[in-house]
């Protein structure tokens, strides 16, 4: 028997009852559509979450340092040097902000003017020289203090933008001084445009050597910025670099990795819909099996005639198998198409970029055909087993 004859007979058999054939495909259409939409929307949504990821949030790592119990600091001021040398660290700074440093009275001159509020309660903290980079700010006026100022213990300070406004400091060419808790410090610069640690805007920042007077002796926090994708690595390595002896005391706050965000998005809704799709497929297969079986019973005489015309059992089996497979294939193609349309529609509504896997578009019709093939096994076997004598009677 020629393959084209077989295909022709199968197609003619299906087209003889077009409405029934169309209804039979419905179960497979539903199942395949559900599967394609579930997998496709999950992929699209997962991609979307990654795409929306804020680069700033995704690269910011903060290490909280607990108060020392032994007297020796957990993280020394020079430890930031070691951290900066790690591959993947873009900038880092150690900060000390203690209770003693909060609400220190700061004035911009020594005169007491009863008509104006000249004394402000500002936060005073100590930081290493990498702070502007670590806080993602820039010097709006002047400059940050350097290693020389730190080593010499110079009485210099950098103030935040907000603090400068409150203290009335708008220019630095006359080397203005501020009085912090009664001690005079030369203002070297104003730090502004902070995109991280915005509270620094209303703070007075002193070199670590100068901050001791206000109880700012130990590092309490280390701010780290990593290159994109390096947060996981740096989060693991930072404790050892900062405090080789007591790394496990440090608390690292890192953003969740993109991979984990994608997995979480996929796990949430998908399992349910995948099960739903598979159940629909099974129901579709049962529908095809049932209808094909009914068709076989209805076409007993046709089977007998074909046997009388010289059809072997395998020819009869092949025809019914092909018919059910074609029903499954049609369901798969329609289901895959509807699924793709649904993905695009969902993406359009959500203003996402649809993510279509070509393999999914190919595999879905094949899955439908497989469902049809499996569903046709029993009816085809029944048709082939029929005796021509009984079939023609």
């Amino acid at each position: 028997m020629h393959v084209r004859d077989l295909a022709g007979e199968a197609v003619a058999g299906l087209l003889a009852r077009p409405v029934r054939t169309a209804l039979t495909t419905l179960g497979t259409v539903l199942g395949i559509t559900t599967l394609v939409v579930t997998l496709g929307v999950a992929a699209t949504a997962g991609n979307q979450i990654v795409g929306r990821f804020d680069e700033l949030a995704a690269t910011a790592v903060t290490v909280e340092v607990p108060e020392s119990t032994t007297g020796a600091p957990v993280v020394t001021w020079d430890a930031v040097e070691r951290l900066t040398r790690l591959r993947g660290v873009e900038s880092a700074a150690a900060v000390a902000d203690a209770v003693e440093g909060a609400n220190v009275s700061v004035r911009s001159n020594a005169l007491v003017d009863p008509a104006r509020v000249t004394t402000h309660a500002l936060t005073v903290l100590a930081a290493t020289t990498g702070l502007p980079g670590a806080a993602r700010g820039r010097m709006t006026l002047g400059r940050f203090y350097d290693e020389g100022h730190v080593r010499r213990g110079d009485r210099v300070a950098v103030i935040g933008e907000e603090a400068a406004r409150m203290l009335g400091i708008t220019r630095l060419d006359r080397a203005p001084a501020i009085f912090v808790g009664g001690h005079a410090y030369t203002v070297l610069g104003v730090l502004g445009d902070l995109r991280r640690e915005r509270n620094l805007s209303a703070a007075v920042i002193l070199p670590p050597t100068a901050g001791r007077r206000f109880g700012l002796r130990e590092v309490t926090r280390v701010l780290v910025n990593t290159s994109l994708g390096a947060t996981d690595l740096i989060a693991r390595q930072a404790p050892a670099a900062l405090s080789p002896g007591a790394g496990d005391l440090l608390q690292v706050i890192a953003p969740p990795s993109p991979a984990r965000a994608r997995d979480a998005a996929r796990d949430d809704a998908d399992a349910l819909f995948l099960i739903l799709g598979l159940v629909s497929l099974v129901v579709g297969a049962l529908g095809i099996a049932n209808v094909t079986l009914v068709t076989v019973m209805e076409r007993v005489q046709e089977i007998g005639l074909r046997r009388a015309l010289g059809a072997a059992r395998r020819h009869v089996a092949a025809q019914f198998l092909l018919e059910s497979t074609l029903i499954g294939l049609a369901g798969g193609v329609i289901g895959a198409s509807l699924g793709v349309v649904a993905i695009v529609a969902v993406s359009a509504v959500q203003q996402w970029t649809p993510l279509l896997d070509v393999r999914l578009a190919i595999a879905a019709p094949l899955a439908g055909a497989l469902v049809g093939l499996l569903a046709g096994l029993h009816p085809a076997w029944r048709a082939a087993r029929m005796e021509p004598v009984d079939a023609l009677r």
């Binding site: 046709e302 074909r306 046997r307 009388a308 015309l309 010289g310 072997a312 059992r313 004598v389 023609l392």
Partner: protein, 217 residues
């Protein structure tokens, strides 16, 4: 052939009792008998649709009772053309397609099949009805289409089971005329019938009663 056929039952049903029958090439034979006499059983054995319980059946010199299922199927498709009482034309397919159906299971080439089917339809006088659906034909036309289908493979034997059972007298006459023409063209025809008119047109008659076959003058 000299065959018996029993159906398993208690006691076994002996549908054919040592039936001995020889049909020559080009013969027109009528098998007559009342219903339940074993006519259909004989037809099924002759048509290779059923195997006899004992005995042998040679078709064109080939012993068929020892053949495997596949070989019997090929022999059936190639050497025997069936004509049934209820026509067995597929609805939803044109007359031409129904006739072409006879060739799809043999090894004959697809090329020229349409022409051969058209020729067979011309031969039975249905050349003007090729594109019709079977349900738009009269009973006689349907049976002629079925005969065209049976003729398509170029069979050695045309095996007809009550071919006029569903036809009125005018159509019966037309079909019987067709059998006469085919016979003159050298085709072997075996007709099973219980109608006097049909059996009278045959060259030779045998009667089967309770599984026993007797020649009739």
């Amino acid at each position: 052939m000299k065959v018996s056929r029993e159906y398993p039952a208690a006691p076994p049903v002996r549908a054919l009792r040592e039936v001995s029958l020889r049909v020559e090439r080009g013969e027109h034979l009528a098998i007559v008998g009342p219903s339940g006499s074993g006519k259909s059983t004989l037809l099924n054995v002759v048509g290779l649709l059923d195997r006899p319980t004992s005995g042998g059946y040679r078709l064109d010199g080939v012993e068929t009772t020892t053949l495997r299922d596949g070989a019997r199927t090929r022999l059936r498709g190639g050497r025997i053309g069936f004509v049934f009482q209820s026509f067995h034309l597929l609805p939803h397919r044109s007359v031409l397609e129904n006739v072409m159906l006879a060739e799809i299971y043999g090894g004959r080439p697809r090329r020229g099949r349409r022409e051969r089917a058209l020729a067979a339809l011309e031969r039975v006088g249905l050349g003007h009805r090729t594109g019709f659906a079977p349900d738009r034909l009269s009973g006689g036309e349907r049976q002629r289409a079925a005969i065209a289908r049976a003729l398509l493979g170029g069979p050695s034997l045309l095996l007809c089971d009550e071919p006029t059972g569903n036809l009125d007298s005018r159509n019966t006459e037309a079909v019987l005329d067709l059998f006469g023409e085919l016979r003159e063209q050298g085709l072997t025809i075996v007709v099973i019938t219980h109608e006097q008119e049909v059996s009278e047109r045959a060259g030779r008659r045998v009667r089967i009663t309770d599984g026993v076959l007797v020649e009739e003058e």
